[in-house]
Symmetry: C2
Subunit: 204 residues, 2 copies
Amino acid sequence: MHQEIKDRFTVMIDFFNSIIPLKQEEKELIRQYFYLRSYKKRMFVLQEGDVCQHLNFVLSGCLRMYKDDENGNPHILLFATEGSWINDLDSYYEQKKSLLNIDVLENAELLQISREDIVKLYLTAPKFDRIFRILTERNLVILQNRMLENISLSAEERYYNLLSSHPDLINRIPQVHIASYLGVSAEFISRLRSRRARNPLMGN
Amino acid sequence: MHQEIKDRFTVMIDFFNSIIPLKQEEKELIRQYFYLRSYKKRMFVLQEGDVCQHLNFVLSGCLRMYKDDENGNPHILLFATEGSWINDLDSYYEQKKSLLNIDVLENAELLQISREDIVKLYLTAPKFDRIFRILTERNLVILQNRMLENISLSAEERYYNLLSSHPDLINRIPQVHIASYLGVSAEFISRLRSRRARNPLMGN
DNA sequence: CGCGACGTTGATTTGCCTCAACGATTGTGG
DNA sequence: CCACAATCGTTGAGGCAAATCAACGTCGCG
């Protein structure tokens, strides 16, 4: 089972490697600084009011990051599945109380790193500054495209765009969460689906 | 006037310095790689279909980045004024044709750097990897907050939030562009304003 | 079994859009 | 320097997209 854990690290090392190839010593640093933690469904990785203590890389499972409004309704900023990250960077770097929640939709295994350790990692291996720069730039581009869709498309267009760009998500995430992610009501998504089911030719 | 140009660089150097203090040699690199360029109102810094050739740091003036939809209506992703950046990172790094436009709302002076030169900059001074990582992380946090507002607040709330968080923008940018940035119609913004003018106590 | 999570459907309301017309201001060329 | 066009904001009438509220059926699960 120590072997197993090494295998998990391999997933993360491959991830970094695909951005910039790592030297052996840099791979060792990853094994040194990241730690494996499992979460069960409904557990919180981060709760509103806490200070975010680690970056989270998802090995398996599914999570969401969201904010509750004054009525207690969640508004989902991000889903994360295998091979992606889910962090409240603001709380993590500024060490301020988070306004966001991260919880588990499907039992999950995460690789985590503390703030002190990532600072050490950056200092001992500056390549990780570059890796995380590139990673963050890519996430910014993705978020910018989502922003653009949000200000320019109808709810129906956004829903079917998501459907075609992330068909995997639709299969494993309840509609009510998809609705919250898109910023529309769950009932409206249901109506869109039944409308298209009755008339498959509609809306391209 | 060579003196003047040096002064412009000082603005940028101060900007970087406030993120991470620079050594003298790193300051020299900035003077070496960035170049000053002036744009007049209505000029394009980037046009749809072109490949983004430089990163843009705004010394003065005001610009917007936007996408035209199929009807030719612009949807604004970002405004940039003194001391901020405005880039299509996707086109810049991937060297693909841009879907976005960047044009000038008020005569502007930019400091620009080409893709080849920023790669050199990263190689000769890895500190810039860290600086741009941090910069990008901050921009991601900002965009994430805007995303959250967009999926959780009404048009009215978004408008007055923008008003209080960026009062400067409201004074220099036409309402029609503010509307496009928020993803609402210009007429509706006008109605919000006149509603509150008649009844100043409304909506907190 | 019974409860909670999830999806659906109907009736009604509303936030916001569209289209159109109209001043006020700016700027631009003859 | 004036005339005319373009830009910008406002207002009205009408319409539609999407929210809200409520009820109900199904499923999985403790």
